[in-house]
Symmetry: C2
Subunit: 159 residues, 2 copies
């Protein structure tokens, strides 16, 4: 049935950020909804941020659009220009290629839930705004490097 059985939805709790950035993913998890539903063209997850957690290192995508809706709780959206408070029902959109990195931080006392949608393309590069890191995304996997292309150990996803 197309209705997604909640018991079939994987809760991702790991990160593949290379050290020392892996420690920045503490308190973040994600319900992988579109994987459970068999979709391939875009990804949908519910990202859960415990108090103090962030959605990702601040980044932007060369090729893929992103959309976020706050489902529950409060957080702040951080960009080049500063911080924007976000609460349940608020939405944000990040068109591909706009080089203004973003992430969401839960500075409150309660968990926050974000619905996150992103295109899934065969090739993309995401740039991290505040650290010497970028990631190249291909069907074979994701490859983290420094900005100058020097490899980092490990490989993984962009969030």
């Amino acid at each position: 049935m197309p209705r997604i059985d909640p018991a079939s939805v994987r809760l991702r709790t790991t990160t593949t950020y290379p050290p020392p950035y892996d420690a920045e993913a503490r308190g973040r998890s994600a319900l992988m909804l579109s994987d459970a539903g068999g979709l391939s063209q875009f990804g949908v997850n519910v990202t859960i941020l415990e108090p103090g957690a962030k959605s990702s290192m601040r980044h932007w995508h060369e090729n893929e659009d992103e959309f976020v809706m706050v489902l529950q709780g409060d957080c702040v959206l951080v960009e080049d220009a500063g911080e924007t408070p976000m609460r349940a029902g608020d939405c944000a959109a990040f068109p591909a290629g706009n080089p203004d990195g973003h992430h969401f931080i839960n500075r409150g006392p309660a968990a926050c839930r974000l619905l996150v949608v992103g295109t899934r393309l065969d090739h993309d590069i995401a740039h991290y705004s505040d650290i010497d890191l970028k990631v190249t995304i291909t069907p074979e996997g994701n490859r983290f490097t420094r900005r100058d292309g020097t490899p980092y150990p490990g490989k993984g996803n962009t969030t």
Copy 2:
């Protein structure tokens, strides 16, 4: 700012279904979120179903993935095999090319809100399961025909 200003979000209340199916869209509206946010690779809207309204005529897409999350209220998901009750938090996924048409009907006394995501491709065909209708989607617009290709008057969107 990437945060979407609610005042900038268009509420679509019209339909371009050809008669007599245009009457079936009564009580349905949609907040066009991804348009307001400048996204092009996938569409995101919040579809609002008043009591008795349906999300669309029952249909499936040849090429585009679809995802739905119930944000508020109750409805039923209708497919070939029958009806599935859906309530806030429930999700459903419709991978491209699965020829099992779907739509959502609000049979309750209160409004229902659905978050709807769909890929935006340059070419797609949607087939309507219960009526003599299909639609061809191109950058030049959408063209409704009978199943045998005979044109219907009017043209518009697939939902």
